[in-house]
C-alpha cells in the first residue's frame, strides 16, 4: 500500500502529547488547553465553512 496521496498528518505542537493507554502505568489524559480556539488557525478554518453547507448536504437513510 502506498500513502502518497494522503497529506502528512501533523503531530500536536509543543510538548509531545502523552499517549496514555489503559494498560500504561501512570498513564492518564492530559487536560487539553481550553482557553479558546487559536484565532489564527481554528477560527480561520471555521470562518471558511460555507454557511449554507448543511442546507445542501443530503444523504439517504442508512442503518
Amino acid at each position: 500500500m502506498t500513502h502518497s496521496t494522503m497529506p502528512e498528518r501533523r503531530e500536536a505542537p509543543g510538548d509531545p502529547m502523552p499517549k496514555p493507554g489503559p494498560t500504561e502505568e501512570g498513564g492518564g489524559p492530559r487536560r487539553p488547553e481550553t482557553g479558546s480556539p487559536e484565532k489564527d488557525n481554528l477560527l480561520k478554518r471555521m470562518k471558511k465553512v460555507d454557511p449554507k453547507q448543511a442546507e445542501r448536504y443530503r444523504q439517504r437513510t442508512g442503518e
Binding site: M1, T2, H3, T5, M6, P7, R9, R10, E11, A12, P13, G14, M17, P18, K19, P20, G21, P22, T23, G27, P29, R30, R31, P32, E33, T34, S36, P37, E38, K39, N41, L42, L43, R45, M46, K47, V49, D50, P51, K52, Q53, A54, E55, Y57, R58, Q59, R60, T61, G62, E63
Partner: protein, 508 residues
C-alpha cells in the same frame, strides 16, 4: 468473553455536482481504495437481518418497502448487487464496503480498547485516503467524508458498537440491564448536534443537544435498523457459534471523533455487560425509555429528570452513577483495563457535574459546544443561525486540512490514546489476539487464494473443493496465537488448514 468492534457509516458528498448519485459515489469511493481490480470476496451466506434475538424471525422489516423501491431503481443501473456493495476485506482484517449508499468501515474484532481506538482511527485514515485518490482522479477536492450520523434533513446513518456475549444470558435480562444505561450513555458518548429533527422530516435550528441519534430512536426493542429504530436492536446474527454466543448489535450510538469518548463508550458498555452477566446490574426501570433518550439529549444542563417505573425521578448523571457504583463494587481489580475504565468513568461523571470545560477534547458534545460558542461570540450570531449546522457538519469532516476536530487535534487540544505509529500499524495488521488478526494475515499472505470471507470463516480456493477456516469459536487469545503461527509459517493455505484442522481433530 471480551470481544468488540465498531461499524461506521460515513456521510459522503461531492461539492462540484448539483445532483449527487449516492450509489455511484459510495461505490467509487470504496473502489478508490484498490490498486488492483475489484474482486467479489464477501460471503453473504448466513446473514439474515430478520432473525430476532427474542426467539423468532420477523416476517418483514420497516425498511423492506424502501429497500425494495431502491432495489427497483438500482436494477436499472449497469451494476450487479455485488458490484454496488464493492465489499473489500482489508489487510488489517477490517471490512470496507458500500452499505446503503454510505461507505462503511467495520473494524476487525478487538479485545482491548487501545486496539479498538487504533483500528477505528485507521478506518478514518482509510476512507480519507480513498477520498484523496478519488479526488485525484476527479481533478479537485470534490469528495468530502463525514464521520457523523445525520444530514440535518431527517436522514440518519449509523455507528454501531458490537459485543460478543454468552448466549446463556437470557435476552430479556440483557435488555432490562442495558436499557437505562443506553438511554444515559449519551452524557459522555454523545457527539452533539445543532437543532432537532425527526425521521425523514424537518429540521428545527436553535437548540444544541447531546446526541446525533437521539432524535431517531422510536422504540425500545426492534429488529429494525433504518426505520422504527430501537434503543436496543434485536438482530440475531451472532457471527459465532450460535449455541454459545450472541452478538449484541447496538445502533443507538453516535460516531465519535474523540478517542476518549470512543474508549469510554465501549469500555463502560463492556463493564455493564459484565454486571448483567453476574446479576449485579442496578435495578433501574425507566417508565418511558424512548421519550427519556430525547428528553435527556435536549438538556445540556443535565438537570432534566425522567420517571422510573417505581414512580421516582432520576437524572442522567444519577442513572450513570448507579451503574458506575455497581461496576466499582463488583469489578474493581479485575484487570488493568477494567480499572482504567472505572477510573475514567468516575472522573468523567464528576467533571460533567462540576467542571465540564475540562472535558473539551475528550467528550464530543462538550468539545463541539465549546467550539460553536466561541465562534458565536466571535461572529455575534445566535443559535438559530444556519451557519452553526454547517460548522457542526464540518466538525466531523475527516479531511485533515478541513475538519474542525482535525484542526483541534493538530493544535494539541484533544486527548490521544493512540500515537500515529499505532494507527499506521493498525492500517496493515489486525489485533494479534483476535480472529480479526487471522483474517488480516490470510488477506496479506494468500491474497490470490482467498475465495470468500465472512466474519466467522474464510474460504480458500485450491484443489477440487473450496477449503474453509472456521473461526466461529476462535476466541481464546492463546488459540488465536497458535492459529496465527500456523498461517504465518505455512507455504500455502492448504498446508495451514491441514496442520490447523489436524491439531483441532487431535484435541477433540
Amino acid at each position: 468473553m471480551r470481544l468488540f468492534g465498531i461499524e461506521t457509516e460515513y456521510g459522503i458528498t461531492r461539492d462540484d455536482l448539483a445532483e449527487v448519485d449516492p450509489v455511484v459515489e459510495s461505490m467509487e469511493l470504496v473502489r478508490a481504495h484498490l490498486t488492483a481490480s475489484f474482486e467479489r470476496r464477501w460471503d453473504y451466506a448466513g446473514e439474515d437481518p430478520h432473525e430476532d434475538a427474542r426467539g423468532f424471525r420477523a416476517s418483514g422489516l420497516a425498511q423492506d418497502k424502501e429497500e425494495d423501491e431502491f432495489a427497483e431503481r438500482d436494477a436499472h443501473r449497469p451494476f450487479s448487487f455485488h458490484d454496488m456493495k464493492s465489499d473489500l476485506v482489508l489487510p488489517n482484517g477490517a471490512r470496507f464496503y458500500n452499505d446503503h449508499t454510505h461507505p462503511e468501515y467495520s473494524t476487525p474484532e478487538c479485545r482491548t480498547l487501545k486496539d479498538l481506538v487504533a483500528q477505528d482511527r485507521a478506518g478514518e485514515w482509510i476512507v480519507q485516503r480513498a477520498a484523496d485518490r478519488r479526488n485525484s482522479s476527479l481533478g479537485g477536492e470534490h469528495v468530502q467524508l463525514y464521520k457523523n450520523n445525520t444530514d440535518f434533513h431527517g436522514h440518519s446513518y449509523g455507528c454501531h458498537d458490537n459485543y460478543l456475549v454468552p448466549r446463556s444470558i437470557p435476552f430479556p435480562r440483557l435488555a432490562a440491564g442495558l436499557l437505562p444505561f443506553l438511554v444515559s450513555r449519551q452524557v459522555f458518548a454523545g457527539a452533539g448536534k445543532v437543532g432537532i429533527e425527526a425521521q425523514e422530516s424537518g429540521f428545527v435550528p436553535g437548540r444544541f443537544q447531546l446526541s446525533q441519534r437521539a432524535d431517531f430512536m422510536e422504540t425500545e426493542l426492534s429488529v429494525d435498523t433504518m426505520h422504527n429504530r430501537p434503543i436496543l436492536n434485536t438482530r440475531d446474527e451472532p457471527h459465532a457459534d450460535p449455541k454459545k454466543f450472541r452478538r449484541l448489535h447496538l445502533i443507538i450510538g453516535d460516531a465519535n471523533m474523540c478517542e476518549y469518548a470512543t474508549a469510554l463508550k465501549i469500555g463502560t458498555t463492556r463493564l455493564v455487560l459484565e454486571l448483567i452477566e453476574r446479576g449485579a446490574a442496578p435495578p433501574l426501570e425507566l417508565e418511558q425509555p424512548v421519550a427519556a433518550v430525547k428528553q435527556l439529549s435536549r438538556d445540556i444542563d443535565l438537570k432534566a429528570v425522567v420517571r422510573q417505573k417505581n414512580g421516582s425521578s432520576i437524572s442522567v448523571l444519577e442513572i450513570q452513577a448507579q451503574y458506575y457504583q455497581a461496576a466499582e463494587r463488583t469489578l474493581a481489580g479485575l484487570d488493568e483495563e477494567t480499572d482504567w475504565v472505572l477510573r475514567e468513568w468516575g472522573d468523567t461523571l464528576t467533571l460533567l457535574a462540576q467542571e465540564r470545560r475540562s472535558l473539551v477534547g475528550k467528550v464530543d458534545w462538550i468539545t463541539k459546544h465549546w467550539l460553536l460558542e466561541t465562534f458565536m461570540q466571535e461572529e455575534r450570531i445566535g443559535w438559530d443561525d444556519p451557519w452553526l449546522a454547517s460548522l457542526d457538519l464540518e466538525y466531523h469532516n475527516v479531511h485533515p486540512e478541513r475538519g474542525l476536530y482535525r484542526g483541534l487535534e493538530a493544535e494539541g487540544k484533544t486527548w490521544r490514546m493512540t500515537a500515529e505509529v499505532d494507527i499506521q500499524r493498525a492500517l496493515v495488521s489486525g489485533p494479534a489476539d483476535t480472529r480479526g488478526g487471522v483474517r488480516g494475515l490470510c488477506v496479506r499472505r494468500f491474497p490470490d487464494q482467498v475465495k470468500s470471507v465472512q466474519w466467522e470463516r474464510i474460504q480458500f480456493t485450491g484443489g477440487l473443493l473450496p477449503r474453509t477456516l472456521d473461526m466461529d469459536d476462535l476466541f481464546e487469545p492463546d488459540e488465536v496465537t497458535r492459529c496465527l503461527a500456523v498461517f504465518e509459517a505455512a507455504v500455502s493455505p492448504m498446508d495451514a488448514l491441514n496442520i490447523w484442522n489436524g491439531r483441532k481433530d487431535s484435541r477433540s
